[in-house]
């Protein structure tokens, strides 16, 4: 039971001349950090921790995919065959290039070149938009052949269009006879599950890209105004890590969704 400060030990001494708020701090060092190194390492570790969360977030869906891929192997291959591996492949290459430009943006930040950060990030965004453009083109076709997993989903219509290499215009419903065929065929439901997973996984991936654009836009404004220094560029590095992560998710999505059935005959 003490009231004094004589207790020694775990705490005991107090170093003189520690930082107090507003004294002796550089403007790019938050008050609760002792030095730039600590600040940088904290930000960096925080981003890695966030990415571990993201891995588990996508992991739930990859888990669901694994279960149904195992249960409905044949239909998943047929469904995958409907997707165009060439377009997916082009998109893969586009994303890899965007990762290169992002790495160069981070490099510019390390060298303290604010304007260069803006340039490389702009390039990254352009590659990202190109990716989403290809994706939109694919999705347009997907909607037209009724593989979007709502009530008007039509498995046999999509299969038919795919076999005959047709690119129909979008109509609210597929012809009625295909729905009748679907009703008799339990595989149509399994095909619907594949496309549910396809749209959810690529949709969530696309959403992450769009969020990335938003963060990059903010960082570009700051970078243009010279906010980042050689000592403080954690946000640039963090968005870089984030972008590479999003890229890496696609590297897993591409084979699972596009290449799974690429070997089948109808292509």
């Amino acid at each position: 039971m003490h009231t004094d400060t004589k207790v020694t030990g775990h705490s005991g001494q107090v170093q003189a001349g520690g930082h107090d708020v507003g004294h002796g701090h550089a403007s790019d060092l938050a008050h609760h950090f002792e030095n730039h190194y600590q600040q940088h390492e904290a930000g960096n570790l925080g981003m890695w921790m966030f990415l571990s969360t993201e891995v588990l977030f996508f992991g739930g869906m990859f888990g669901a995919y694994t279960v149904y891929r195992y249960k409905f192997e044949k239909v998943f291959e047929q469904a995958s065959n409907i997707l165009d591996p060439l377009l997916g492949g082009i998109n893969t290459i586009i994303l890899l290039f965007s990762s290169v430009t992002m790495a160069l943006a981070v490099r510019s930040a390390q060298q303290g070149k604010g304007k260069a950060i803006v340039g490389w990030m702009a390039a990254t965004i352009i590659f990202g938009l190109a990716f989403l453009g290809v994706k939109a083109f694919e999705w347009k076709h997907d909607f037209a052949i009724h593989v979007f997993p709502t009530k008007d989903f039509c498995w046999s219509y999509a299969r038919e269009m795919h076999k005959t290499h047709q690119h129909p215009e979008y109509k609210p419903n597929a012809p009625a006879k295909f729905y009748e065929e679907d009703a008799k065929n339990p595989e149509s439901k399994q095909g619907k599950l594949f496309f549910f997973l396809y749209f959810t996984m690529t949709g969530l991936h696309g959403l992450h890209m769009i969020i990335g654009f938003g963060i990059m836009a903010v960082i570009m404004v700051y970078a243009w105004n010279g906010y980042y220094t050689k000592n403080y560029f954690v946000p640039v590095e963090s968005v870089g890590l984030y972008w590479h992560f999003v890229d890496l998710v696609w590297i897993f999505l591409y084979p699972l969704l596009y290449l799974l059935g690429a070997h089948l005959a109808s292509h």
Partner: protein
């Protein structure tokens, strides 16, 4: 061989601080905005405590309604539908809005940076954001209850939640999705803080055990919570798009939902219990006036529990139709959780053995905690045994078991921690006899409420029904009577602790004579930036020397 605060006071030991008031985190700014926009981990911890207490009261009211209905065997007070909604509301509020953030977000936020000798957590803005996400999540959930409630139970099993239940399920799911990010941000913040913000000399094996417990908890929050987020998203998409990812009629698998749900929700149980285990370690060593027995074993057992927590989830599904081989595997792994849990209980007993135990009120809560946690843990072994689980699954035995762990463990641990750190948080002492009375009421009331439920469950009373056979009434009346005592034990500290925070006698810097930085290097209450300078650590955390310490105390 025990000494109480009052005895020390009688011997003239200065317990009360008479220094003039200083600038503290509480009084340096007083506007509402200075609280709502604060980046100070201490104020955020207090705000969490207030909002959680509010949710606890709500959840407690729902519990009261449940116990009132169960006084009589007939379902005469509530309709079965309303009863379903009541226990769902109780479960959702208590699990997600009270137990999961209980210790980490309030006490952890407040105390952990002090223990590390840090000025704040690593990301103060994220910390504030996580509180706002908590509030928004709570608003969504309460909105769903006002709109007519949800009847799925807190587990949201499909296809009930995806196909048959009303649309409020979506509102609650949205609320819990948002709340999940609050939990993730807290965990992320804590891990980075513990890695990067430790004072010079504060090596990993000099960390107080509460910090180790929070570290283990944060790992679970970080890796478990996103899985429930995606699961609830899939549930929502299934409802919106009409896809049957969990619906067997449409090719889906409801068992997959259970797997994904428990992959988070079992580890979540350890989010609830690990931090109070850390609190108990602090209490036992402080009030035994003795270095903790088996420091490294306790630290390691926290991590072991965090790791085991991720590989035992399917023990919730032994009767769901999983493969018997998987069931055997999960049963075996579940048993192994008993090892780190047992290590903790035995190290506490080893710490008390031949210590100079001081029976102040936080220690009373610690005694209650150890006893209730032990019963809760041991009855878990009944449920991890495949054969007995088939008999006990979905009965009141399960209800009693998890209340012993979650309420007897987590809430009693929280109360012990609050009584321990209250003088640090508000710089004032509370009424000690009342605190002891509350500890007694909680312990007695809790056992009276939940012990009969073990017997009821063994006799076969299923959970989640608003009526039961007449011969089970006696035990149910005991249980409801116990709930009243328990309620009293909860209401009392809400009153005397609140009173003490404003008008209690001023506390000294270190009223318990503890040895960690939160007591020795900061004022009570702490200054806005915690420390005058940068504290340096030169020793192990619990360097009590029992005999010397007693002389020291008496010599003052």
């Amino acid at each position: 061989m025990s000494t109480t605060v009052s005895e020390l006071k009688a011997k003239g030991v200065p317990f009360v601080n008479n220094e003039p008031s200083k600038v503290t985190y509480l009084n340096h700014e007083n506007t509402v905005a200075s609280w709502l926009l604060t980046l100070d981990h201490k104020r955020i911890g207090v705000m969490y405590l207030i909002s959680m207490t509010f949710m606890f009261l709500l959840g407690g009211i729902f519990a009261g309604i449940i116990r009132a209905e169960l006084i009589t065997p007939k379902g005469d007070m509530l309709s079965s539908d309303f009863y379903n909604k009541t226990f769902t509301a109780h479960g959702v509020i208590m699990v997600f809005f009270v137990l999961i953030p209980a210790v980490p977000a309030s006490l952890g936020n407040f105390i952990m940076p002090l223990m590390l000798g840090a000025k704040d957590v690593a990301f103060p803005r994220l910390n504030l954001m996580s509180w706002y996400l908590y509030v928004i999540g709570a608003v969504f959930t309460l909105l769903a209850m006002l709109l007519g409630g949800v009847d799925t139970g807190w587990t949201f099993y499909t296809p009930l939640s995806s196909t048959y239940s009303n649309g409020n399920v979506m509102v609650v799911a949205a609320g819990l999705f948002i709340l999940g990010f609050s939990s993730i941000l807290t965990g992320l913040n804590f891990i980075v803080t513990i890695h990067r913000m430790r004072a010079p000399g504060l090596t990993w094996f000099r960390l107080p055990l509460f910090v180790w417990a929070l570290y283990a908890t944060s790992i679970i929050q970080l890796l478990g919570t996103p899985v429930i987020a995606i699961t609830l998203s899939l549930l929502g998409l299934e409802r919106v798009l009409g896809v049957g990812i969990f619906d067997p009629r449409l090719g889906g698998d409801p068992i997959l939902f259970q797997h994904l749900f428990w992959f988070y929700s079992h580890p979540a149980v350890y989010i609830m219990i690990l931090p109070p285990l850390g609190v108990a370690s602090e209490l036992v060593t402080t009030f035994s006036r003795k270095p903790i027995f088996g420091y490294q074993m306790i630290a390691g057992s926290s991590l072991a529990i965090a790791i085991f927590s991720f590989i035992v989830w399917a023990h919730h599904m032994f009767t769901s139709g999983i493969s018997p081989y998987a069931a055997m595997f999960f049963s075996l792994l579940t048993f192994s959780v008993a090892i780190p849990s047992g290590i903790k209980v035995f190290t506490w007993l080893g710490t008390m053995w031949r210590g100079s135990i001081v029976n102040d009120s936080p220690m009373w809560f610690a005694y209650g905690f150890i006893g209730l946690f032990t019963i809760g843990g041991l009855t878990g072994l009944f449920l991890s045994t495949l054969g007995t689980d088939i008999h006990l699954h979905d009965t009141y035995f399960v209800v009693a078991h998890f209340h012993y762990v979650m309420v007897g463990g987590a809430i009693v641990g929280l109360m012990g921690g609050l009584h321990f750190w209250w003088p640090k948080m508000f710089g004032r002492m509370y009424n000690e006899p009342l605190a002891k009375l509350s500890a007694f009421f909680v312990f007695a009331g809790f056992n009276l409420t939940f012990f009969p439920q073990f017997l009821l469950g063994y006799l076969g009373m299923p959970r989640r029904y608003h009526e039961y056979p007449a011969e089970m009434q006696v035990m149910n009346v005991f249980s409801t009577a116990g709930a009243l005592v328990l309620g009293l034990g909860y209401i009392m500290p809400m009153i005397y602790l609140t009173y003490a925070a404003f008008w209690g006698p001023k506390a000294s810097k270190n009223p318990w004579g503890a040895t960690t930085l939160d007591w020795t290097a900061t004022d009570s209450p702490p200054t806005p930036h915690n420390f005058e300078g940068q504290p340096v650590v030169t020793e192990e955390p619990y360097h009590y020397k029992s005999t010397e310490n007693k002389e020291h105390a008496l010599a003052h």
